[in-house]
């Protein structure tokens, strides 16, 4: 019951945060509102017994990635004038909302077809660091390794695109 209450709270917060992200004009407000969603999601992960993911969500997502985004927003020193004047924003949101409804309904239909399952907190070490870690290095070695490649690429990319080096040697 308590878990349900928590779920409802987190869910409402997450949705509100997401709505805020979509609707706030200034990206900073949006980012802040998005952080709320991320933190709520972290809570939900905890409710789903995903301990490691709960932690990572807070540390990596809400922490690192969002700080990066906020940092960049600040760094660019965005004035209200720089922001696009989105007079028809609501119209677009409404139109987008209507367009999205079939997709959503389709997904809902799929979910309905799945058998209901309890999500009560699992005991034991489910979702613990060690267990997930073992799995990661035993079964998922290759994806793990290639993620490193991915990060390397993104690193190089960020340097090249945003860097200030001279272009030609």
């Amino acid at each position: 019951m308590f878990a349900d209450g928590l779920f409802i709270m987190f869910a409402v917060l997450a949705v509100l945060g997401a709505v805020g992200l979509v609707l706030f004009r200034h990206p900073m407000n949006g980012a802040m509102s998005f952080v709320v969603t991320l933190i709520s999601l972290a809570g939900l992960y905890a409710l789903l017994s995903a301990k490691l993911i709960f932690a990572l969500q807070l540390i990596v997502y809400a922490g690192a990635i969002m700080s990066l985004i906020v940092f960049i927003i600040m760094f660019l020193n965005i004035q209200p004038d720089d922001l696009p004047k989105e007079e028809t924003k609501l119209l677009y949101v409404l139109g987008g909302g209507i367009l999205v409804v079939p997709i959503g309904l389709f997904l809902v239909k799929i979910v309905k077809s799945l058998p209901e399952h309890s999500t009560a907190i699992m005991g034991g070490n489910f979702g613990g660091v060690k267990e997930v870690g073992l799995l990661l290095f035993r079964d998922w070695l290759i994806p793990f390794e290639i993620v490193s490649l991915l990060l390397l690429v993104s690193l190089v990319g960020a340097v090249i695109l945003a860097g200030k080096r001279g272009t030609t040697k």
Binding site: I53, I73, L76, Y92
Partner: protein, 98 residues
């Protein structure tokens, strides 16, 4: 209860789509995409709970890593865009068309 988690995931996913389609602010658009990835992560974790296997957790981690990499690149692009035009409006960048 699983359904509720998945419904939430779907709602967040759809909101992400709306954000991408409806907004012209580059930051908002990228964050909307992140929102969609998070919605997928929620589904992963939910299914991991349902299947009681931790593969889903690993997958979610991978997605986070990818999201981080993408975010880094996206921010680099945003900086580049800002350098060029000083604007964050996606509609400003429509030289290529027709």
């Amino acid at each position: 209860m699983m359904h509720c988690y998945l419904y939430l995931s779907i709602i967040l996913f759809c909101l992400g789509i709306v954000g991408v389609v409806a907004r012209r602010n580059v930051f908002t658009v990228f964050m909307s995409i992140e929102l969609m990835l998070n919605a997928a992560n929620l589904a992963f974790v939910t299914f991991a709970r349902v299947h009681e296997s931790m593969d889903g957790h690993v997958l979610a981690m991978m997605v986070m890593a990818v999201a981080a990499a993408e975010a880094a690149l996206a921010l680099a692009v945003v900086i580049l865009l800002h350098k060029h035009k000083g604007k964050l409006d996606t509609n400003v960048f429509s030289l290529l068309k027709g």
